[in-house]
Point group: C2
Amino acid sequence: MASAVEVEQKYELITRRLQEVLGGDLIKSILAEGRTLKAYWGTAPTGRPHIGYFVPLTKIADFLRAGVEVKILLADVHAFLDNLKAPLDLVAHRTKYYEFVLRTVFETLGIPTSKLIFVQGSDYQLTREYNLDNYRLCASVTEHDAKKAGAEVVKQVDSPLLSGLLYPGLQALDEQYLGVDFQFGGVDQRKIFTFAELHLPRLGYAKRAHLMNPMVPGLAGGKMSSSDPNSKIDFLDPPDVVRKKIKGAFCAEGDIVENGLLAFTKAVLIPISELRLERARREAHPNDTELSESDATGSQKPFADDDAPEGTVFTLKRNPKFGSSSHYKTYQELEDDFAAKKIFPADLKSSVEAAILSLLEPIRKTFLANEEWQRIEKLAYPDPSASEPKKKKKEKVYHPPPPGKGKNTNTNTKTSIETAAPTEATVGTAVLAEAPAKSEQAKEQDAPTS
Amino acid sequence: MASAVEVEQKYELITRRLQEVLGGDLIKSILAEGRTLKAYWGTAPTGRPHIGYFVPLTKIADFLRAGVEVKILLADVHAFLDNLKAPLDLVAHRTKYYEFVLRTVFETLGIPTSKLIFVQGSDYQLTREYNLDNYRLCASVTEHDAKKAGAEVVKQVDSPLLSGLLYPGLQALDEQYLGVDFQFGGVDQRKIFTFAELHLPRLGYAKRAHLMNPMVPGLAGGKMSSSDPNSKIDFLDPPDVVRKKIKGAFCAEGDIVENGLLAFTKAVLIPISELRLERARREAHPNDTELSESDATGSQKPFADDDAPEGTVFTLKRNPKFGSSSHYKTYQELEDDFAAKKIFPADLKSSVEAAILSLLEPIRKTFLANEEWQRIEKLAYPDPSASEPKKKKKEKVYHPPPPGKGKNTNTNTKTSIETAAPTEATVGTAVLAEAPAKSEQAKEQDAPTS
């Protein structure tokens, strides 16, 4: 049994900054029992993960600090289905690559990973039991309900594929087969989550809690075109490439809505600053004993100047010609100043750029020191610049396009990032966004138009 | 290599009386190679099989006589999904029961069964490979195409279940996993079959041939209500029950369309008469060496009087008050006489009744001599008259009705025969009809209305 204060502290750590919690009472009761909470977050190992993944990972860091056992589902079966052009062995390499990246992010942040477990979908999603349950689900779920559940995350097209109807059910079954107490995802997963809450009990399984992150617009700005896939910042991009991409990000003076830089600052940079401040003040959560600066492979300084007042979570450095730096203790103050045009976009860009470079530097360093990761990277993403035309040729030989594809260029075939040629405005949200959960990519990316 | 004459003879035996053949060239080329043709026909072991199963079995007898290796797929996974109320062990008993019945039918007819193989769906439909292929299929088949494929065999309702969309794909995969050259079914399966022809090659598998039986109206007459499920004749019904059911069959003077008795005569009785005549004349196919009267456990006389002219395939016995018997060498002559009102319905009924009784007598005798079959029968269909209300109670405890069920009493949940309370006119076709293939039941039967 945990004390009421402990329960409240952990619950606060687990749920802070979330947009919505379904089943908070369940989480509290497990915390009160003193039992280890178990959670899962899923992502399909398709294209190279971009730094939008920092958004869920920053939240998962809270779970880990609160002692939650976190399973990261690398949904390899989904990745294979998302892009039938990618053979299974390529997906296997990508799965390993994702694990390298995600694990390294936690290590550079100094987050304890003893309760972090990577699971591959193929470990259980092709078993007899899982598939019988999938069939059982399909025999009690209507097309209408499956379509409704996927409405936010599966692209709504004239000729949707059957797979889009299966994903909500599979994601529900994952909760049971991963044996978790709650699932975490972006709030765009809400209908998938409520679907799971309705249908798992109908199969005789427990209803799980669902924790939802707010959606975060991309670096290029939500409504802007991001037809240039290079605008996504890769975890391994060298500093000059990062600088170039941030330079190209959309950031209009006074505009706080279509502002991927502010969004990333709010969702990633300031939480990480707070983590570091908490740690420095030894104010970390009582159960946060594993956290010590020496464990982290990256910097443990908040994104603030050395001479900033205590409690500063973000320092905006100005071009000296136009004034001195501003120090912020909350995101809101920063946003207010930007809205009031007290901050030039160029200064926001350079401040965010410095923070991103400091986040990426130890990750890149780890990569360059790890031969196995380098080997896997080559296998997972061979010759990325030339891969698209080659693959298309192959596809025509072995996998004729599915019916309706000719009529509907925007199918919900989920394509890997490097082969996607996004054409819709909303695609821009992928650049720095909430990292896609496994059924989320369809919305973010368009299938190649030919 | 087989001679051209042999090929033609076997091809004729394999395809005679069918309504449609897709891929006949494939069948001929395999026959010409001298390779053993392999075929499959599927049925879901749900309710007690009724004598409508004689229709496909009579055709399958031709395949076996032509040396085709025939796999009968007892689709237990489908049966389980069709009726989630029936637990898996009950389905297992029903699967055994079906095998007893179907095997016995061939034995009583004297059909060689050395190339008859019973396969259970669960033998392969829950494996890793099959399920990955199912997912692959779902990632390339649109909802629209799946719905179109199932239009004839899955009841079209406002809120169809996902399972109805999966069935066409699963049935296509069965061809690959059973390793057959052709699939056999009723012509109502046509869209499912053409779906398989289109999609298997897209997965890299061979396109199979498809042989289709005509649809046969039920005993009660196609448009008549058959709200009394007792009107279906069970293989094990004792003679007095059979007589009662035939007495209740719809048979209007001169009406050759809504006439289940004529339909059964055409599709079952006359082909069996012809089989027996061929055998008696030693005109059987050259490869028909296994066929000898001594192998058959049932009568080997055609359904003709002893004093009928040679070649008679059906004798209509009349009430002596109204005339003497009529002997027919073809079905057409019988139908013409009935259309011309030269035959009273009562005389047709009594003639067909005698034939059905003679078909069922050796089956019932085999059952009564086989303790294992009797034991399985009790387990497979326990207390049939009282089972429905009990099961419904159970269902409420463990399986709340799926969404949309309240609004749509005619869901495409496939229900077992004994719990079905058919309400639609077309349901009448089930009584003596083409035995349902595994995805066919939905159309023939209505889900319980409460």
